[in-house]
């Protein structure tokens, strides 16, 4: 019962407490904007090699997008269960979010591996450099998020919904939704537009 009261109090005032974290997310947006701009400038500079149209498989990337979108949804459900003070449900959704995130990053690493194996690595052209930096930066954020989920899950299992853990969960929620939004733009610009123009 105390868990419920603390968690509710924490999550209700999250708007104020997380303002600093929100500012960090906004600056991260600017980081991604610079990488998007770089990619947009360089996307035709293939140095005679294959471009986006030849390299990317759309159904594979659509599957990745759906997985990340679902994980964003389950992360929201985790925050919601914390609001209700339901620890068991919260852990359940966190584990599902983690597994979906892991599936996403595995698919991305597989895709990178495949490209490098076929000889299309980041040293081949400006287009591939910009592509690997943009998508790789997003992937690094996802790996950071996965580590965060793992650590937080262990903490909540051990000490329950304290002031600290529920505050951390609220920030994790913002971070994970943000990564999904960035991926939507990568999916649209790099993959959909790249593969059809």
């Amino acid at each position: 019962m105390t868990d419920t009261v603390i968690a509710k109090h924490q999550l209700e005032s999250q708007g104020k407490n997380n303002f600093g974290f929100w500012i960090y997310i906004m600056t991260d947006c600017v980081l991604f904007a610079t990488l998007f701009a770089t990619y947009a400038v360089l996307n035709r500079a293939t140095a005679g090699g294959p471009g986006a149209k030849e390299l990317f498989s759309l159904p594979f990337v659509l599957a990745e997008t759906m997985i990340l979108l679902t994980s964003s949804f389950t992360c929201g459900l985790a925050v919601l269960s914390a609001k209700n003070g339901n620890k068991k449900q919260l852990l359940y959704w966190l584990v599902i979010t983690f597994l979906l995130g892991l599936a996403f990053i595995s698919m991305e690493i597989y895709e990178f591996n495949q490209l490098i194996y076929e000889g299309h690595n980041w040293t081949k052209s400006a287009f591939l450099s910009a592509y690997f930096v943009l998508v790789g930066t997003h992937g690094l954020h996802i790996i950071t998020g996965l580590t965060w989920i793992a650590v937080l899950t262990k903490k909540i299992t051990k000490s329950g919904l304290t002031t600290k853990t529920s505050g951390s969960l609220a920030m994790l929620g913002i971070f994970w939704h943000f990564l999904d939004i960035v991926w939507i733009f990568i999916f649209s610009f790099v993959y959909l537009i790249g593969a059809s123009l």
Partner: protein, 121 residues
């Protein structure tokens, strides 16, 4: 108590609605690109529009941007960031376009001068 459960239900509905809208927008964008329903610039604008609508769907349903209390600092910084990001991306493309035009490679410059000389004979 009943008021409390109502509130919880409504946020569950919010998340579900956001999820469904996002999936619909993603699949629409995918079909538009796969079947080539639009040509060149029209395609870019349509897919850009779909991505931006999904940004707003997720910002409101997942990040709860509209539900803040009065000094809406999160919303203000969000709008400010949108402006910065737009300036950054659009102006980069604009500058690079002019740069490509004004700074042609040296050989090409010479080649163009030669062509001009030829035509003046």
């Amino acid at each position: 108590m009943s008021k409390n459960t109502n509130k919880i239900d409504s946020s569950l509905i919010n998340y579900t609605a956001g999820f469904v809208f996002s999936i619909l927008l993603t699949i629409t964008a995918y079909i538009v690109a796969r079947d080539g329903l639009f040509q060149s610039w029209a395609l870019v604008y349509v897919i850009l529009g779909l991505a931006v609508s999904q940004l707003f769907v997720q910002a409101f349903f997942f990040l709860h941007l509209g539900e803040e209390k009065k000094p809406r600092l999160n919303l203000m910084t969000f709008i400010f960031t949108l402006i910065v990001v737009t300036i950054l991306v659009v102006c980069t493309l604009w500058i690079m376009k002019n740069l490509n035009y004004n700074m042609m490679p040296h050989e090409q410059d010479k080649y163009m001068l030669e062509q001009n000389n030829k035509s003046s004979f």
